[in-house]
Amino acid sequence: MSPVIELDARRLLCPMPVIRLQDCVEKQDKGVKVRITCTDPGTMSDIPAWCRINGHRVLATEQLEHEYIFLVQKDPDGN
């Protein structure tokens, strides 16, 4: 099983967390998982929206006091 790629997007304001995730996911093979940690509450809507648009999956979300963590899987059926 391939390891989960960790991305730190804390302190970044939207849309930078989405750009970080987008640039990372583009380089990966399909099915690869990326966990991104954010502090901008806007990511709660943006990252799922970005995933829906591009066919990627949000496998899990976690909200701590000031952090929002998403486990994303690159579209397993995509290019």
Binding site: C14, P15, Q22, D23, D40, P41, G42, D46
Partner: protein, 347 residues
């Protein structure tokens, strides 16, 4: 053969409608959205706790989802600096280089088009909608100087402009495009209703902080006091947050206005000297500038104490923190509001 268009998606109504008009003609559309660092998004305001009830969505993503298209968000922060610092066509009312910005973005879209084998570019521009960049006589300037020439189609006002390649080649039917002009939003709102779009963004002051007078004052101050017209992403982000007070050329205070900003600024503790209140609830402040002498440090503390719950107290305890020198306690009498020189406050 299905033709492909790349749409500049700002997140506003115009780019939504322009893309929809072209989709309706059987063209495959993908969106492109540029992040300059100056973008006004609900998320920037989401730092502030009392504004957290606002919709926090990214409107460009929302538009893409309404259209069912892919959206490519591109970080152009570094390249965009030259547009802001050296605009060939000058600034608008503030430090907004709108015409150069439009030329630059269309140029970047044209580069993207070539790399991804798309056929033409669409924008949501409307003649006369914006005083600087969307005047009729400037529309050909954008097309020419961006290098896009007749690959640039503006569906919302195309019938008032010369034919572009997609129209000449019959990829799109010119008769189905629009001839909107002027600052009225009524034609766009009627078209949105026709398409069934609701809940679209209605930005009151445009989508860029550079059109904001207060923001431009703070950016100009940054340039004046650094002695050079340059910036990093953190600089322009911090200009969006807090109360900016410059008591002297040597230093500026960035003082949180509420809990959300306190939390945001606390993320910069490793980069800046900071001052926070101890004896009373109050703001966190970053110190931007050279090391302060004792008098300057006392003045900084007195100003910050003035914005704490101890503003009427005889003495307020604050903590000055420096990543290298550690932290220490300072007691001051809060500065009365009347002694804060209005020239210090950057608005």
């Amino acid at each position: 053969m299905t033709r492909k268009a790349v749409a500049l998606i700002s997140g506003g109504l115009d780019s939504l409608l322009a893309a929809k008009l072209i989709q309706q003609q059987g063209i495959e559309v993908e969106g492109i959205n540029f992040f300059t660092g100056f973008c006004v998004e609900g998320h920037t305001h989401a730092i502030r706790k009392h504004e957290r009830n606002r919709v926090k969505r990214n409107n460009a993503l929302w538009v893409a989802e309404q259209l069912g298209i892919k959206l490519h968000i591109i970080d152009i922060v570094d390249e965009y600096k030259d547009v802001v610092i050296n605009p060939k066509h000058g600034y608008g009312a503030n430090l907004n280089p709108c015409l150069d910005c439009k030329i630059f973005m269309v140029h970047k879209a044209q580069e993207w088009l070539k790399q991804h084998d798309f056929d033409f570019i669409i924008t949501g521009e409307v003649i006369g909608q914006r005083p600087k960049s969307q005047r009729k006589k400037l529309m050909p300037v954008v097309a020419e100087k961006s290098g896009a020439d007749d690959l640039l189609l503006r569906p919302l006002c195309a019938r008032s402009l010369p034919e572009t390649l997609p129209e000449k080649e019959g990829w799109v039917d010119r008769e189905k495009l629009k001839d909107f002009s002027g600052r009225s939003r009524k034609p766009q709102m009627a078209l949105a209703a026709e398409f069934g779009f609701e809940d679209y963004a209605q930005p009151a002051g445009g989508c860029c902080f550079l059109t904001d007078q207060s923001y431009s004052v703070k950016l100009q101050d940054l340039w004046d006091n650094r002695g050079e017209r340059d910036y990093e992403l953190d600089d322009i982000m911090l200009l969006k947050v807090g109360r900016h007070i410059r008591p002297s050329k040597a230093f500026k205070l960035i003082i949180a206005r509420e809990e959300g900003e306190n939390h945001f600024l606390s993320g910069y503790k490793r980069q800046f000297q900071t001052i926070s209140t101890v004896s009373h609830a109050g703001p966190l402040a970053l110190i931007e500038g050279e090391s302060l002498d004792p008098q300057q440090l006392e003045l900084a503390c007195a100003i910050i104490a003035r914005y704490s719950k101890g503003r009427n107290a005889d003495s307020v305890e604050l903590r000055f923190s420096d990543r290298e020198q550690g932290s220490r306690s300072i007691h001051v009498k809060p500065l009365p509001a009347t002694q804060i020189n209005p020239d210090w406050v950057l608005v």
